[in-house]
Amino acid sequence: MARIVGGINVTHVPYIGRAIANNLQQDPYWKPFFDGFPPIHDWLAKVEPDVAVVIYNDHGLNFFLDKMPTFAVGAAPEYSNADEGWGIPTLPPYRGELDLSWHMIDALVEEEFDITSCQEMLVDHAFTLPLELLWPNRKSCPVRTVPVCVNTVQFPLPKAARCFKFGQAIGRAIESWDSDARVVVIGTGGLSHQLDGQRAGFINKEFDLMFMDKLITDPLWVTRYSIPDLVELTGTQGVELLNWLTTRGALLGEVAKVHGNYHIPISNTASGLLAMEIL
């Protein structure tokens, strides 16, 4: 059966794409952010995943508001990035992992998560940039991928507890996949930020640090908060922490922190990074 080697949660601010394209990793603005990654590169080199299940939210590239699935799973042989309209470079396509995609789709629906399956799916910066950050300077991404998209855009959003359970179902699906593959689960987005309204620029360091800590020791802690509570505490886009929580759910059981980083600001966002391995 396939084995989950661990999980990584990481911010996906579009602006990072421009920093990578312009080689700004050592620039004073970017250095505290990019310096978080080498220990995780070392860990990835050690655990050598073959497949990444990437849990993220689409920002109006693949899904428009005409059809907005709460949970969607990619089932394509390849996933292309495309012009998102705000001038960040378009990246080359990513390989899919069709056997795992369909195994997950079957297993998730069996567990009563009525996901939308997508045999064609564009992937935006929230999928591509974390992969570029985790496997930099490569002509092509070394892992095969399964995108899992969570609606964090149009309310009602799935509740935190629901996302955690969805993550657990993803974890069980991966572990019951008849394959010798090693799988890493990647959650993207957050942490606290708000792009819109008079409260634009809102950041909550205290909450973010607590969330990162509790994600290791007591992941259900955050499920005490409703979605509007989470918007109030983390900002309108800070609710992307649901992707982090889903990823944590997929790790099934106790975990240990491999490495973490937290830096304010990247663009308007508190950037977070947290790699976890299963105990």
Partner: protein, 117 residues
């Protein structure tokens, strides 16, 4: 419009719920079209005509033509879609944040940095 339910009030914040999604559909659909470079060029050629093509109402059209983000949000715009419109004018998230909070860009940036201390 929301079945009489009491809505959560978070100062300076709008939850992009069904009411906003209904209200802003045409505006967000127009912004979604800006994923295409060809459409961005067409918009720049005649902004008002492009708004009409997507059926924006007077409030939405006025907000777009004056490039006022808070007005676009009030008209049902969603932040992720409005960012695509902002991109056409080379506005980044600090420009948009500064405009919405009535600060200069430097003041807005300084506030972000201060949040990290």
């Amino acid at each position: 419009m929301n079945g009489g339910k009491q809505k959560r009030v978070i100062p300076g914040t709008t939850l992009f719920d069904g009411d906003m999604a209904r209200k802003g559909y045409a505006l967000n659909k127009m912004c979604f079209s800006f994923n295409s470079a060809e459409n961005r060029a067409e918009f720049l050629k005649d902004q008002a005509a492009y708004c009409d093509k997507y059926g924006l109402n007077a409030q939405q059209k006025q907000a777009v033509l004056s490039l006022q983000v808070l007005d676009m949000l009030a008209a049902g715009g969603n932040a992720y879609y409005l960012a695509k419109l902002g991109g056409i004018f080379g506005l980044d998230m600090q420009d948009i944040g500064a405009q919405q909070t009535g600060m200069s860009k430097d003041e807005f940036r300084a506030r972000l940095v201060a949040a990290g201390r």
